[in-house]
């Protein structure tokens, strides 16, 4: 009969090595050991107080906040709500496209509060679906 299987299924050193590491230490060791974005971005007022992210959105359908609102990037941690005052970090006008670009953020539009700097997708991006810890496969 006709063989329907692959002739050989061999795996390279990286794949097998990762499997060995994960088997010994658990899969979480693989993601924990990776280089992850460390800084988070928040929309704030002039006093460094977190405000609703819509104030830092100049895309169509949103008015933006004029010249009185800022994006602040730093090691702030996730989950701060409007009203929380940030300390430290780097602050720039929310509509400064050059600064956004340098920091790996979308040049226009909304940047969700708590977004990881440089993380346009996936965990920390403000994803609706991502970041739940569940598989994104099907």
């Amino acid at each position: 009969m006709t063989r329907r299987r692959s002739k050989r299924v061999e795996l390279g050193a990286r794949y097998l090595g990762l499997a060995a590491v994960a088997t010994l230490g658990g899969a979480a060791t693989l993601s924990c050991g990776s280089e992850q974005p460390q800084e988070q971005v928040y929309c704030t007022n002039a006093n460094g107080v977190v405000v609703d992210e819509d104030y830092c959105d100049d895309s169509s359908g949103h008015g933006g906040g004029g010249g009185f609102f800022f994006l602040n990037t730093g090691n702030h941690g996730y989950g701060h709500q409007p009203g929380h005052r940030l300390t430290g970090g780097q602050r720039f006008p929310y509509n400064d496209t050059g600064a956004r670009s340098r920091l790996g953020l979308p040049t226009t539009g909304k940047v969700g509060n708590g977004v990881a700097r440089g993380g346009g997708f996936g965990t920390g991006s403000g994803a609706k679906g991502g970041g739940t810890g569940a598989s994104t496969g099907s």
Partner: protein
């Protein structure tokens, strides 16, 4: 098709499957008790003629999916090649009233142009001059060995189960020597698919660099390792495809390019400034960051289009010279969404040459009033989430989840076949038929205790002609 209850059990099989990348087999069930996702021992046995039948029907189903999406994209005002061009384009902007993608799928309008462009890239008549690589998908089907297979869903964008289907199951067959064969050409087919797709992309984009990196990404939040090893395996097989190419092949297919592969997390993809000619990068430091030319992402488009860099990604894709090429391409949104089931039924309901592969399915506003027995499926639900079975108006089984705001389809209920074991325990299998580069190349099975296949379902191996 039959379930063989007593099969060989390999010594140290848990260590064996983990060494092959299936590090996520030891799970905790909904009842809080540990269980093995991998089934060692019992397996399914098919005849050669059953597998030939499935191969034939999956190829046919794939063509039907093409026709169905042709119908959808022709109903979008942003389609420059629509047969109904004047009428459709006169409709103006995409809204549920003017656009079938908006109406049936709810996909944001900013994504439509690239969905349509990527759809036509591989079409001889409508070739845009660019090429959108597409490597993999998996049909989930109901099949019992007697009647025809019936489509339950098409995991066309982010199919998982790949290492266990292509690698672990293959080695299980080698190790146990049960059955005469196995339908499992996935590994070899994937290598061929990477070669063909990247070769065609290079033809369309001859300016791609001579030292070309293809990135592979998934979400770091998934902690079991399932997403990571599905992505790592895809990267491994691509690496083999490029590394094993002969000098003649490298010259002919890749223009002499050295192609390497590299992993990164989705959150490490950095957005540059599109308006300044930038795009997406690995790294944020302007002095050291590397442009992402081509990326395979095990991350669904419907998550991406909700995220901060979504509009930038679709604008960037519009630059067919320098924009990042995303694999799977955006058009996969129109297959991986369960709206496809209702669209297929619209197109084929009166066609007995094709409709026997389908179960009648309807959008909410078109569900017949006398349809009281059905399966309600969230359009974007995954792994059985937000699926409920209703019989004579009463819900008999359901599985919760975070989906459903996007809408539902209603599909005729056809109970999965039951293959009970000697204790009377039910086993309900769903077959996964792997489509590699548009052709059927293998099979996996997921078994459940109930009628809904979920993330608690178990993987079962299969063979061909066990007792011949």
């Amino acid at each position: 098709m039959r379930r063989v209850e007593i099969g060989k059990i390999r010594q140290a099989w848990r260590a064996t499957i983990a060494s092959q990348g299936l590090i996520y087999s030891e799970e905790v069930g909904a009842d809080g008790k540990p269980y093995d996702y991998w089934t060692e021992g019992p397996y399914y046995d098919f005849t050669s003629s059953e597998i030939e039948h499935l191969e034939h029907e999956m190829a046919k189903l794939f063509q039907m999916c093409i026709v169905a999406v042709d119908h959808v994209v022709e109903g979008c005002p942003q389609n420059p090649t629509s047969n109904a061009r004047a009428e459709v384009q006169a409709a103006g902007a995409c809204t549920p009233d003017t656009c079938l993608i908006s109406k049936w799928y709810g996909t944001p309008a900013f994504a439509h142009r690239e969905i349509i462009r990527s759809w036509y890239d591989d079409d001889a008549e409508n070739f845009s001059g660019d090429f959108s690589p597409s490597v993999i998908g998996r049909f989930d089907i109901r099949y019992d060995g007697n009647g025809p297979p019936k489509l339950l869903e098409f995991n066309a964008d982010t199919p998982t189960c790949l290492p266990e289907a292509a690698v672990v199951q293959w080695h299980w067959h080698e190790d146990t020597n049960q059955g005469r064969d196995q339908w499992n050409g996935i590994h070899d087919a994937l290598k061929d698919a990477w070669k063909r797709n990247i070769s065609k992309l290079i033809q369309a984009r001859p300016h791609l660099p001579q030292e070309l990196t293809i990135h592979f990404a998934c979400d770091a939040a998934e902690k079991s390792g399932e997403d990571l090893f599905n992505t790592e395996y895809m990267m491994e097989v691509a690496r083999q495809a490029f590394d094993e190419a002969s000098p003649e092949e490298t010259g002919q297919l890749f223009g002499g390019r050295k192609i390497r592969v590299k992993f990164l997390w989705m959150s490490d993809i950095a957005a540059g400034d599109v308006e300044a000619g930038d795009r997406f990068y690995e790294g944020t430091d302007p002095d050291t960051r590397q442009p992402i030319h081509i990326i395979y992402k095990l991350y669904p488009w419907e998550y991406m289009y909700e995220e901060p860099s979504a509009k930038q990604a679709f604008r960037d894709m519009g630059d067919h010279r320098n924009g990042t090429v995303w694999i799977e391409p955006p058009y996969k949104m129109l297959w991986s969404n369960k709206a496809l089931l209702a669209v297929l039924w619209k197109v084929y309901k009166d066609d007995p040459e094709h409709n026997y592969l389908l179960l009648p399915a309807y959008f909410a506003d078109e569900k017949p009033s006398d349809m009281t027995t059905y399966v309600k499926k969230a359009l974007l639900g995954r792994e059985g989430a937000n699926v409920s079975i209703v019989v004579d108006g009463d819900e008999v089984e359901s599985f919760g989840g975070p989906y459903g705001d996007e809408g539902y389809i209603y599909q005729e209920f056809a109970a999965l076949p039951d293959f009970p074991d000697s204790t009377g325990q039910s086993h309900y299998p769903v077959l996964g038929a792997w489509m590699i580069d548009g052709e059927p190349y293998g099979l996996n099975i997921r078994e459940s205790d109930g009628l809904i296949t979920t993330n608690y379902s178990r993987f079962a191996c299969h063979v061909i002609d066990s007792y011949l």
